[in-house]
């Protein structure tokens, strides 16, 4: 056993570059997929954390009734959901003069502005106000759509104007009695002063908060164009409900004194925070059940009450939509990455065993079992995969943070959850482990099927044969000698040719898909840098994958043909000419791979466009089709430079030795 283990440790030394190849490809493939996948998980975790920490309202109850919610109804709800989970107020959208502009503004009149327990506001900036005769108000922090208001800005609210706007929106006129009462009212115009700039947990998307004025109400369209055409708010103000003026009693027309705006909103959050889980399984049903309970509490008033749940919250819906898209993109690319990885590992391990043929034969004649021999190679592959896998966890983690971070462009992102998103990583990694095991087992099994006697005989170099091109003299006679030889070589190692072409095709398709995404973001009129960032990540990793694949396959090619190359050197070929002998082949393989890659890329693109609900293949600018091969050829070029020393180092004495 001790000596057997020695052969193992020597194998690592001898096949170090292969070892590194496997580590690298696992690092790139698993790192990329788990990065994409776990970023989607991380976005969801972050959203759930945000929901819990800020006690986000699961439901907003909005009544149309003129009298608003009764104290009894509110008390009953507090009894069910807890006093800390029920807040009350009133909200409406109206045009208000702010900083000399007429701005569409959401006005929240909150009964508990300062100590609110639901939808907890977070201070961004707070100014000390010394004026005591003004009502203090908060404004939502500015972003891409919401406009900036400095602290200490004074805003005048004309309640008659606000009520008139509301009535006109409903196609009515403000009723005469109220109008008269308001005209007579002293405090119909109130001045407020902005004390704080805050962020609400309900509005973190920077692309704008839809107004109540949208024709579909609070419905969020499920396509990006629909979202982009929504009417959005210019400002959001949070005011104490005490600012709402009261009309004195004027019997018989006005029996009792009353506020001109009633408590029309209840912000209600569920005690059981675990139910949400980023719109997880069962949440929607749970919300529906609660609505039934609430309806029974409201009694006959229920028909006037609208429920606004989180499915009507643009920020929540957009973030979860993006994270779903990211995850689905991950699924699509996962298949491609895993496929290529398995192919490369299979090639590497097959070649490795071919090279150790003599040793395997020797062990077999000594009576070692086939399994024990193959076990060594499985161990080799597993250790490489293991190292690559552990490393890829960190690559994935870095990538996930990067993607979540990039979401800051579209969202005032809730803090990124530090919860470890292992699921995606573990799935991908175990698939890779199984694929590697399978590939190694397959390659080893094939070899142990041969009798020891066959194994002892060296495997003759693959015979040459005439390629189909030779039957077309028109082409064949025009090829220079070098290219004739290359053409035959390409077809001689047909299975490696196919493997290279398939791998390059998949990589090219991935690069092309990444470029197409980028194009759609830049020119599609869609302002979503987060999708753009993902496109860039896809391009970078696809290019990396291409480089690793071409490196591995060319490396195998060079060692397979060591003897031929050594002979060329003895014949007086310069290093560059010797390299050309191999590299011409690599470039031809790459070129063919790119052609197939174009075909494959249309499929991947279509899938991605379907996921994102935007973009078409025809809409992709033509020049990207030229950029993709540049990427792939550049990767090939880098690899050929990188492998040059290996060719320079080939020992001419190889040509003198017997065939191993």
């Amino acid at each position: 056993m001790k000596t057997y283990l020695k052969t193992l440790s020597r194998m690592f030394k001898k096949h170090f570059t292969r070892f590194i190849s496997i580590i690298l490809i696992v690092l790139v493939a698993v790192g990329f997929i788990s990065g994409i996948g776990s970023s989607a998980d991380k976005l969801e975790y972050s959203l759930t954390d945000h929901y819990t920490n800020r006690n986000v309202s699961d439901l907003i109850l909005k009544t149309e009734s003129e009298d608003g919610f009764s104290i009894e109804q509110i008390t009953a709800l507090k009894d069910i959901y807890g006093a800390n989970n029920v807040e009350t107020g009133m909200s409406l959208d109206a045009y208000i003069n702010i900083d000399g502009e007429n701005r569409l503004t959401r006005l929240y009149f909150l009964d508990n502005l300062e100590g609110g327990k639901v939808n907890v506001l977070e201070d961004i900036e707070c100014a000390e106000i010394t004026q005591t005769d003004c009502v203090l108000a908060y404004t939502e922090v500015s972003d891409n759509k919401i406009k900036h208001i400095s602290t200490k800005t004074e805003i005048e609210l004309d309640f008659k104007d606000i009520l008139t706007q509301t009535a006109e929106r409903e196609g009515k006129e403000l009723d005469k009695m109220t109008a008269m009462a308001l005209d007579a009212l002293d405090g119909v115009k109130q001045t407020t002063i902005i004390q704080r700039i805050v962020s609400s947990p309900l509005t973190f998307a920077k692309e704008g908060e839809p107004s109540y004025h949208n024709p579909e109400g609070t419905q969020i369209p499920d396509d990006i164009n629909g979202i982009n055409s929504l009417i959005t708010l210019d400002n959001i103000l949070y005011l104490p409900s005490s600012i709402i003026p009261t009309i004195p009693a004027y019997p018989p027309f006005i029996p009792d004194e009353k506020k001109i705006l009633q408590t029309g909103d209840i912000y209600l959050s569920f005690e059981n925070k675990g139910k949400f889980n980023a719109f997880g399984l069962g949440y929607d049903n749970y919300v529906k059940e609660q609505q039934k309970i609430i309806n029974s509490v409201l009694g006959s008033d229920a028909e006037n009450v609208r429920f606004i749940d989180l499915n009507h919250n643009a920020s929540f819906i957009m973030l979860i939509g993006y994270s779903d898209s990211v995850r689905e993109i991950g699924y699509v690319l996962m298949v491609a990455f895993l496929f290529v990885t398995a192919l490369v590992v299979l090639s590497t391990m097959t070649r490795l065993m071919e090279e150790e043929r003599g040793q395997i034969a020797c062990l077999r004649t000594l009576g070692y079992s086939g399994f024990k021999i193959v076990f060594k190679y499985i161990l080799f592959a597993m250790i490489a995969t293991g190292i690559g896998g552990v490393g890829s966890y960190f690559v994935g983690l870095g990538l996930a943070y990067l993607i979540c971070y990039v979401f800051n462009y579209s969202f005032a992102m809730p803090p990124i959850s530090s919860q470890i998103a292992l699921v995606f990583y573990l799935i991908v990694f175990s698939v890779i482990v199984v694929a590697t095991l399978g590939a190694t087992f397959f390659a080893g099994f094939k070899m142990t099927l041969e009798t020891p006697a066959d194994l002892l005989r060296p495997k003759p170099p693959k015979a040459g044969k005439k390629s189909f091109l030779e039957r077309i003299p028109l082409i064949w006679n025009r090829l220079s000698f070098k290219y004739k030889s290359t053409t035959r070589n390409v077809l001689r190692y047909l299975h490696r040719f196919i493997m290279t072409v398939v791998s390059v095709a998949v990589s090219t398709a991935l690069v092309m898909a990444g470029l197409a995404l980028l194009d759609t973001c830049i020119f599609g009129g869609i302002d979503s840098p987060s999708v753009m960032a993902i496109a860039l990540v896809v391009i970078v990793f696809a290019a990396l994958l291409t480089a690793v694949v071409i490196y591995t396959l060319t490396n195998i090619n060079v060692s397979e043909r060591n003897r031929e190359l050594a002979t060329l050197k003895v014949l007086g070929y310069h290093d560059k000419e010797v390299a050309g002998y191999i590299y011409r082949e690599v470039y031809i393989d790459t070129a063919v791979g790119i052609l197939f890659g174009y075909v494959l890329s249309t499929g991947i693109m279509q899938l991605l466009f379907n996921i994102l609900g935007m973009g078409t293949i025809g809409g992709v600018s033509w020049y990207w089709w030229l950029v993709a091969p540049v990427f792939v050829f550049f990767a090939t070029f880098l690899v050929t430079i990188l492998l040059m020393p290996k060719i320079v180092k080939i020992d001419m004495n190889e040509s003198l030795k017997a065939i191993e």
Partner: protein, 233 residues
């Protein structure tokens, strides 16, 4: 000065602090048109000598001159040019390109030489005019070695180096190959050096160089070499 001159040629391999002399103080002179056999048991330094003569390695001391050209002074590029134009190599295991036909295997060598012979003519000369378009896998060992010889001859080299040319062949085929090499030497007036451990070959050589432990043990001149047909082993 002779056509090929070696004077005090040495080759030292260093591994860490240990240095091994593969060759030491090797000196001899050979003339154009001579048929020379270098004889030695394995490990004697035959391959090292072959590497130095063939421009595949640099000597650590001494000088090698071929037709007035100082081979030991050449840099890497110069050595490649030397192998390209001045040396023809015949390998023990033929080393043909498996994906090229017999004709193409000769062509790939002459393609980079200036002053070469016609590949078809040379192949006809070695008796392969019927096999021009066959791939190595379709040829017997003897035929493959003929292609290998044709490849070496077609370069029109100054020096033909053969490393155990019959090592992988059966007795009769081996004899035929040696005859071909001998004929080439005499008809084309080329210096042919055969490296072997088969001492029976010494009778057919004009000169026999015995190597042992990296040094020349003896240089033997044959006034009347015997034709290969008469030699048995």
């Amino acid at each position: 000065m002779s056509f090929l001159t070696l004077s005090e040629v040495g080759k030292e391999y260093k591994t860490g602090s240990v240095s091994v002399h593969a060759l030491k103080d090797v000196s001899f002179e050979l003339e154009d048109g001579e048929f020379v056999v270098v004889l030695g048991s394995s490990g004697a330094g035959k391959t090292t000598l072959l590497n130095l003569l063939g421009g595949m390695d640099n000597a650590t001391s001494g000088t090698i001159t071929l037709d007035g050209k100082n081979v030991t002074a050449l840099d890497k590029r110069g050595l490649t040019e030397y192998r390209r134009g001045d040396v023809g190599f015949v390998f023990q295991f033929y080393n043909l390109m498996p994906n090229l036909t017999a004709l193409e295997n000769v062509e790939i060598a002459v393609e980079i030489c200036k002053d070469h012979l016609d590949p078809k003519d040379v192949l006809t000369e070695v008796g392969l005019d019927e096999r021009l378009n066959n791939f190595p896998a379709q040829l017997s060992g003897g035929e493959q070695q003929r292609v290998s010889i044709a490849r070496a001859i077609a370069k029109n080299p100054k020096l033909l180096l053969c490393d155990e040319p019959t090592g992988a062949l059966d007795y009769n085929t081996g004899k035929k190959i040696l005859k071909l090499l001998h004929d080439t030497c005499k008809q084309r007036k080329r210096l042919v050096i055969i490296v072997t451990h088969n001492s029976a070959l010494k009778d057919m050589a004009d000169k026999v160089i015995h190597i042992k432990n990296g040094m020349i043990e003896d240089i033997q001149m044959n006034k009347s070499p015997r034709p290969i047909e008469e030699i048995e082993w």
